[in-house]
C-alpha cells in the first residue's frame, strides 16, 4: 500500500520504512518553534526538570511576536525571559525587534523551514509550513519543552483527507476564499486529528502566498496539518532561502485517504466567515448590509506582500469610510520594506489607513486594534471566536484582503464587485 506525503515525512523522521494512520511514532524534529506567549511556559518546564542544554541551538526558533512591541510590563517581562533563555543557550534564531516578524511569515521567508521537514511549534498556526511540502503542526508548551530537550516528538500518524480543487477561479477569489469555503463545508472539527492534503489544478496554479494562507487555516477545521506537495513554484520560493537540503515527497497514487473531497472552484465566490466560528461562511453575495467599525489587513494568514498588493489595488485613489479604522500590518520587516518601496504605504496612508510594524497584536485581541463592546471588524486573520479581537460582545468577520479593503472603503462588508462597479 502506498503512503501519503504526511505519512512519508513522518516515516522518514521516525527512521521507519513505512507508517500507517493510527500508529504512534517518535519523530526527529527539524525545527522547534515558540513565541512570547508559549515559550515562557516551555522555558519553565525546561528548567523545572533540570535540563541544561538544548538539543540543537540552530534548530530552535524563538519569535516574540504576539504582544510585541511590548504592550505592558508583564509582556515585556515575558519577552525578557525568552531573550535571556536565547542568550544563555546561544539560540541562533531568536528574533529581536527589528528582525522580528509574525512567526509564520518570517520562518519561511528566512529559509528556516522547507520541503520534507518535520516541525513542531507552540502556536496552532504552525501548520502554515505545510505549504512548502513539510509536516508542520501546532503543539503546546510542554511539547515544545520536550522538543527543545530531545529534538523529538511523539505523534499519532494522522489519517489524510484529500481535497481536490478543480475549475477556474472567479476574479478576486484567492486562497483565503478557498480555505474559508472548505472550512464552511467540512466544519470546525471536520478534519479533527487529520492531515488536510490540498491538491488539484487550482492549487498547482496558486501562488505560494495563497498556499501559505490555505495551510495556515487547516487548524480551523481541526486539522493536525495542512500540506501541499512541493512543486516548481515551491522550489523557486525556497531556492536561495532554505538553508538545508529540500526533500520533496509526493503522495503515492495508491495512498489511502479517509476521504476525497472535490470542489468546482468556478462556483466559489469571495467568502466571509460570520461570528463566532470560521465555519460560518457565506458567499459575498449573501452577506447583506453589515456596517463595520474596523478593518485589519495582516497576520500570519494574510500579511504577506501579495496580500498587501491586493489591498492596495483596491485602496488606490480611494478613501476608507469616515467611520472606519483601517489597520495594515506587513508580516515581516522584509515585507514592510518591500511594500514601502513599491509605494503601497502612500496608497494606504492616502486612503486614511494606518501601517503598523509587524505584530500579531490585533488578531488575538492583544493590542494595536482592540474592539469595544458592540463593535464589528472585517479581518484577514484566521479566527472569529467570541472576544477574539477584544470585548466579548464584539464581532469579527473573516475575509480575504480584497474583501477587507473593499469593506474599508464602503464602511460595511463589501466585495470587489461593489467597489469596481461604481
Amino acid at each position: 500500500m502506498g503512503m501519503t506525503i504526511t505519512e512519508k515525512i513522518l516515516a522518514a523522521h521516525a527512521g521507519l520504512d513505512e507508517v500507517k494512520p493510527g500508529q504512534l511514532i517518535n519523530a526527529k524534529l527539524d525545527i522547534v518553534l515558540g513565541n512570547d506567549i508559549t515559550s515562557p511556559v516551555a522555558i519553565n518546564e525546561f528548567e523545572k526538570v533540570g535540563s541544561e542544554t538544548v538539543f540543537d541551538k540552530c534548530k530552535i526558533c524563538l519569535v516574540p511576536d504576539h504582544f510585541t512591541p511590548n504592550k505592558d510590563i508583564k509582556s515585556a517581562e515575558q519577552v525578557k525571559q525568552v531573550r535571556e533563555f536565547a542568550n544563555k543557550h546561544e539560540i541562533e534564531n531568536f528574533f529581536e525587534l527589528g528582525q522580528m516578524g509574525v512567526e509564520h511569515c518570517i520562518l519561511p521567508e528566512q529559509g528556516l523551514v522547507g520541503p520534507g521537514d518535520a516541525i513542531i511549534g507552540a502556536d496552532s498556526h504552525t501548520c502554515t509550513y505545510g505549504a512548502l511540502g513539510a509536516f508542520a503542526t501546532g503543539v503546546g508548551s510542554t511539547d515544545m519543552a520536550a522538543g527543545m530537550i530531545t529534538g523529538e516528538a511523539w505523534f499519532k500518524v494522522p489519517e489524510s483527507i484529500k481535497f481536490v480543487y478543480k475549475g477556474e477561479l472567479q476574479p478576486h477569489v484567492s486562497g483565503k476564499d478557498l480555505i474559508l469555503y472548505t472550512i464552511g463545508d467540512v466544519g470546525v472539527d471536520g478534519a479533527r486529528y487529520m492531515a488536510m492534503e490540498f491538491t488539484g489544478p487550482v492549487i498547482d496554479n496558486l501562488p505560494m502566498d495563497d498556499r501559505f494562507t490555505m495551510c495556515n487555516m487547516a487548524i480551523e477545521a481541526g486539522g493536525k496539518n495542512g500540506i501541499i506537495a512541493a512543486d516548481e513554484k515551491t522550489m523557486e520560493y525556497v531556492n536561495g532561502r532554505f538553508k538545508r537540503e529540500a526533500v520533496v515527497y509526493q503522495s503515492d497514487a495508491d495512498a489511502e485517504y479517509a476521504k476525497v473531497i472535490e470542489y468546482d472552484c468556478s462556483k466559489i465566490e469571495p467568502q466571509v466567515a460570520f461570528p463566532h466560528l470560521p465555519e460560518n461562511t457565506k458567499p459575498i453575495s449573501e452577506v447583506g448590509d453589515i456596517r463595520i467599525d474596523q478593518v485589519v489587513i495582516g497576520s500570519c494568514t494574510n500579511g504577506r506582500i501579495s496580500d498587501l498588493r491586493i489591498a492596495a489595488e483596491f485602496l488606490k485613489g480611494q478613501k476608507v469610510a469616515s467611520h472606519i479604522r483601517c489597520i495594515v500590518i506587513p508580516g515581516t520587516p522584509e515585507i514592510y520594506r518591500q511594500a514601502m518601496h513599491e509605494g503601497l504605504f502612500d496608497i494606504f496612508l492616502d486612503a486614511g489607513a494606518i501601517v503598523s510594524t509587524p505584530t500579531c497584536g490585533p488578531c488575538l485581541g492583544g493590542h494595536m486594534g482592540i474592539l469595544a463592546k458592540g463593535e464589528r471588524a472585517v479581518s484577514t486573520t484566521n479566527r472569529n471566536f467570541i472576544g477574539r479581537m477584544g470585548h466579548p460582545e464584539s464581532e469579527v468577520y473573516l475575509a480575504s484582503p480584497a474583501v477587507a479593503a473593499c469593506s474599508a472603503i464602503k464602511g460595511k462588508i463589501a466585495g470587489p464587485k461593489e467597489v469596481l462597479s461604481k
Partner: protein, 165 residues
C-alpha cells in the same frame, strides 16, 4: 484515581479564547490564569467553581489556539476533569501532557446535566452520574498515553526515559 464533583455544563466548540482570553496571556502563572478560567464562555466562572468540580461540554472542546494556558487555568481553577464527546487535538495533547484528566464520551456528555454529582474512575474511564445513577464508559487511552499519565505528564516521562540515558 477517583474524581468526584459537581458538574458545570458548556456547549459545542468551546474555543481556547473562551477558556482563557488572550488579554490575560501576559502572564504564565497558573494562579493568575485561574482567575479568568472560562471567562468568555461564562463570566465570573472562576468565582463560582469549586475545588473538585467537573466540566461537561459539547463536541470539539478546546479548539483554537495551542495555548497550554487553557488546560492549565482550568486545572488551577479547581476543575479535576473534563468530559466531552470530542476534544480538539492540541487541547487533548496538552491536557495529557500537563496531567488534566479528560474523558471522551458522547453518551455521558449528552446525558449529564449541570449541577449533577459525577464520579469518574480515571483508570478504567467509567463515569457515574450519581444524581441519576447511570454509568458511562469513556474511550480508553492508548497504552503510550497511559504511560505518560502514569509518569505524571510528558516532562516527567522525558526525565525518566530520555534525560537519564
Amino acid at each position: 484515581m477517583i474524581l468526584q464533583g459537581k458538574v458545570w455544563k458548556f456547549g459545542d466548540d468551546v474555543d481556547t479564547d473562551q477558556i482563557i482570553p488572550a488579554r490575560y496571556l501576559n502572564s504564565s502563572d497558573p494562579k493568575e490564569l485561574a482567575k479568568y478560567a472560562m471567562e468568555d464562555a461564562r463570566a465570573g466562572f472562576a468565582e463560582i467553581v469549586g475545588q473538585g468540580d467537573i466540566i461537561v461540554a459539547g463536541k470539539n472542546f478546546g479548539c483554537g489556539s495551542s495555548r497550554e494556558h487553557a488546560p492549565i487555568c482550568i486545572k488551577a481553577a479547581g476543575i479535576t476533569g473534563v468530559i466531552a464527546p470530542s476534544f480538539a487535538r492540541i487541547f487533548y495533547r496538552n491536557s495529557i501532557n500537563i496531567g488534566l484528566p479528560i474523558f471522551e464520551s458522547k453518551e455521558a456528555a449528552e446525558a449529564i446535566e449541570e449541577g449533577h454529582e459525577v464520579k469518574i474512575d480515571a483508570t478504567s474511564g467509567v463515569i457515574e452520574d450519581m444524581t441519576t445513577g447511570k454509568s458511562y464508559q469513556a474511550v480508553p487511552f492508548p497504552d503510550f498515553m497511559q504511560e505518560l499519565i502514569a509518569a505524571g505528564g510528558l516532562m516527567n516521562y522525558i526525565k525518566k526515559n530520555k534525560m537519564d540515558k
